[in-house]
Symmetry: C2
Subunit: 565 residues, 2 copies
């Protein structure tokens, strides 16, 4: 590969790491990771990959550090600029090597000090002291007494760096292809899985999803000036699940390399989870196993796992039968279970929250609306924002809204009852099929997230969610039904005056509409029982006749061209 | 909205513009756009929106300018840092206003000098001198003598700034939400439609698509260390067409606002073009019209235009009849035709090439492989890279490969004949339906692009393209058939030794696989005539029996777990 990526890798690495540990001449300088432009120049003569192709990163960093009150010398910038010219020439010569971007990252890491950040599993029991903890290298889904697990970071270590440091570091990684920071998840690696070797990461540069201003829907439908949609489904496998799955599969990959007995990763999902699992296992070369009830799922629904080479078992039973079998099987065979309570996945999902802050130049929005079923994602968003706040990257929390389908609304009911008690329900079918869950596994996580963010729960009927999706589609979106739930919640909260006209509000779109075209076809064909399809827009049939076509066009343009006179 | 976006807008604006024209005190300074940190501080006292929230942008810019050899004063950085603290406090206070991000951009623009960059239509007749030229504000599809048009930029004006200036400017806009630079297309506005008012731009922050390292496919299938896939279809409407359509619809929006008689935008496409057109028209509130043959298209194929509120006319004729009718109709009614020869669209599409350079830290790859049908896109890539080279942003051109389906290969035939002569053919059906074109409208553009980039044309049979897509899917991708054509071309060129093991190679994926699941289902069901489906991976049927399930798992894991012992 060209020298560029190597140099770029080194540049960013410098931002996060201290002087090379192998450099005996300056061991006394082996302090904390800092932006150390002036130190680099000392090491210029070494045959080290720590060359600097993007001096601006470091210069920026040095200047920003200065602004943030830390003590940097202007010399740092000067020498960095000097060095950069030399390397720029090197890059220009385009020296080609057989190194892959992973080789570059590995070579570089050999010169870094060991990571100082740590993370571990602890039971998710907020407010209850416990000494129970586990290494992330253990195959573990629940605590001793059966509670959920949480990935807990060494916040004291992370807090040794101020908010400006983290902002500079994360900003220096945007929009590039350096391994692994080209990923929106791994560009926040220190906050996700700090101890994983870059070599073990399985990434297709997920994340970095579009956050766009929903101008027309905001203004015309809601009278809002500052409405945004975070397109998490505009992604590799078409849903936000990629964010969590890159973390889970990376950690599994690490465990396998460490000699843990894991031969495959399995799940019993028909939807976005199996697609994301299969894609990331395929990228890693780790077998993925998907258990499914025979004759209940079409091959079209399964085409992603099948295309990604997963072992798809079509079993002559129902979903419960599949779940039971996969649990029995994983007790016998070393198959890691990519189930929905997995706390590693939430670490990846929380990067969507961090990314929103970053895209708004580290200013937190007022509201963030997230569809909720199994309720891991609302906690992931909470955790992302809270981590930003704890580490000085933002100065307040947004208010979180969890939006549920009325047909699967156990959290909404608990919220309405003042969080007094939660009772599972039997969920009725909903077009928002991925959140059709009556007994959500992450209920405790969700209640914790919402009560700590002055949060709200809202619900949407089938008609409300399909109408909201269709109404927003008319302004240029292409929403999946889950996003429809979030949009319907927004409409309600806006109409009630809870969300103000100038509140900066982010609706989280969790999947691409292309994954849910059938429900859209049904809506626009006016074929859904008990739904009026107010915004249906069926094709107009016309004979092959110029006059007739002109008549239709004139009539329709008069109806539609309100903006154009 | 919060003060942030305003400030951020101002910060980036400063990077691209000179001192406010309204500031009479310093008219003598109204020179070229520069990074003018020190001037800003003079204007601090004004009630101007030119506040600076991201000093680092400017500091960076100033430092980078310095590195690039231009003359900036270190004072610039100091005063910028000073200013930034004040504004940072302002931002922290979170002053809320009713301004939208467009308002912010508009207010800011009032303080900028008028743009100095220009673009116009000229006939696409390379090497032939002509004085024929047209304003981009004219409704025009072809030149006087019927040749294609080209958007020609005032390169002399653009060349007043060196490559480092443009790199800094474009880098300062990455990963943010400032209007309109949150878009991957409009972040290159000066090179696209420099004269359009930010207010008139219709954008959903398209572009900024993932460029990821295809590690496993590269290594295991091709022995390549530096293979990348540019996911242009990982986008708002699921194809690269968004890139061009935001430009076309923005220009139409501008013309309407200027009083041009345009009442709608029309096309006669069933595929990605109608989806993108409908989405952008919906975002603008401009009627979109789609003409289609009745009974030949299912509502599922049309669900994007329908959802986006387009007027879909289902006409009792065939495709040729639709084309004829839409031409007749547009002669009578002021409907702008979003046809495939439109040169505005290519301006947007060329940003994918610029973005690739930027993602590789402004180092050009060795090879770029683009699927080709109507052949506008291969020219757009050429134009993007050439513009980067002409403006000093990259130092050489990549070699371009145009990949055609063997069933629709007129360019391949011309290439094989030494470019001697081109003859249209009747294209046979191909799974790569968007490039099933026998008489490509942009043939002259494509030949020009390829002969000027030491380019190659390769072809792929139906089996080759479906196999290539499926083989790559097994390493974690989810390729559409057009990407399959590009991948098949890569495999052939790699096997022939044309593309080397360490060549940095980018395959352009033009649509999301989710738009083409039917062909994948057919492949994995082994239902395609004359295609062996070598990489098919159908589900395995198992009875609900623990022992049987275990048997299947053990057998399959032994087969698949080559990586895991």
């Amino acid at each position: 590969m060209a020298a560029t990526a190597r140099a770029a890798a080194a540049a960013s690495s410098l931002a996060a790491s201290s002087v090379g540990a192998d450099c005996t001449g300056c061991r006394q300088q082996r302090t904390l990771p800092t932006f150390t432009g002036f130190r680099v120049s000392k090491h210029k003569a070494q045959a080290s990959p720590q060359k600097l192709q993007r001096p601006s990163v470091k210069v920026r960093a040095a200047m920003d550090d200065k602004k943030a009150g830390s003590k940097r010398d202007i010399k740092a910038e000067a020498s960095a600029v000097e060095l950069s010219s030399a390397v720029a020439a090197d890059v220009k010569n385009g020296a080609r090597s057989e190194e892959s971007i992973k080789d570059v990252a590995r070579n570089k890491a050999a010169h870094d000090v060991k990571e100082v950040f740590r993370a571990k599993y602890v039971p998710f029991t907020p407010g209850v002291a416990t000494t129970e903890e586990y290494s992330l290298d253990e195959v573990l889904y629940r605590s001793k007494n059966g509670s959920l697990l949480d990935v807990q970071h060494d916040m004291e270590a992370l807090k040794k760096y101020d908010g400006q440091y983290w902002k500079n570091l994360f900003d220096s990684r945007i929009g590039r292809t350096e391994w692994p920071y080209g990923s929106g998840v791994w560009s926040k690696k220190e906050w996700i899985l700090p101890e994983i070797d870059n070599d073990d990461i399985v990434s297709m540069f997920e994340g970095n999803s579009n956050l766009f201003w929903a101008e027309r829907f905001g203004k015309e439908t809601l009278g809002m000036s500052d409405l945004w949609v975070k397109q998490c489904g505009n992604s590799h496998t078409g849903s936000f699940k990629d964010l969590g799955m890159t973390v889970l599969v990376s950690q599994v990959n690490r465990m396998i390399k460490k000699g843990r007995a894991v031969r495959a990763v399995g799940c019993a999902s028909t939807g976005d989870t199996s697609a994301a699992l299969s894609a990331y296992c395929a990228a890693a070369g780790i077998p993925a196993i998907v258990f499914l009830p025979a004759d209940k799922i079409s091959i079209a629904q399964l085409v992603q796992p099948i295309a990604n080479g997963a072992l798809v078992l079509s079993i002559d039973t129902d979903f419960d039968g599949c779940m039971r079998l996969i649990r029995e099987v994983t007790a016998e065979l070393p198959i890691y279970l990519a189930n929905s309570l997995n706390s590693l996945r939430l670490e990846g999902q929380k990067t969507a929250a961090i990314e929103i802050c970053q895209q708004f130049n580290w200013v937190v929005p007022d509201w963030v609306i997230v569809p909720g079923g199994n309720l891991g994602n609302i906690y992931a968003f909470y955790k992302g924002f809270q981590m930003c706040k704890d580490l000085g990257v933002i100065d307040r929390m947004p208010r979180l809204v969890c939006a549920q389908a009325a047909n699967a609304n156990p959290l909404y009911r608990a919220y309405k009852a003042g969080w007094d008690k939660f009772a599972p329900i039997k969920a009725a079918p909903t077009f928002a099929s991925a959140i059709q869950i009556g007994d959500p596994v992450s209920i405790d996580r969700a209640i914790y997230a919402l009560t700590n963010s002055d949060g709200i729960v809202e619900e949407a009927t089938e008609e409300e969610l399909m109408d909201a999706a269709a109404q927003a589609d008319r302004t240029g979106m292409f929403n999946c039904p889950h996003t429809g739930v979030a949009l319907a919640a927004l409409i309600k909260l806006r109409n009630k005056g809870v969300i103000g006209p100038n509140d900066r509000t982010v609706v989280v779109s969790t999947a691409h509409g292309l994954k849910f075209t059938q429900s859209k076809v049904a809506y626009h064909s006016n074929e859904i029982a008990d739904v009026t399809s107010r915004f249906a827009n069926p094709p107009v049939t016309v004979p092959e006749n110029f006059g007739k076509v002109m008549d239709v066009l004139r009539r329709e343009l008069d109806k539609r061209g309100d903006k154009i006179k």
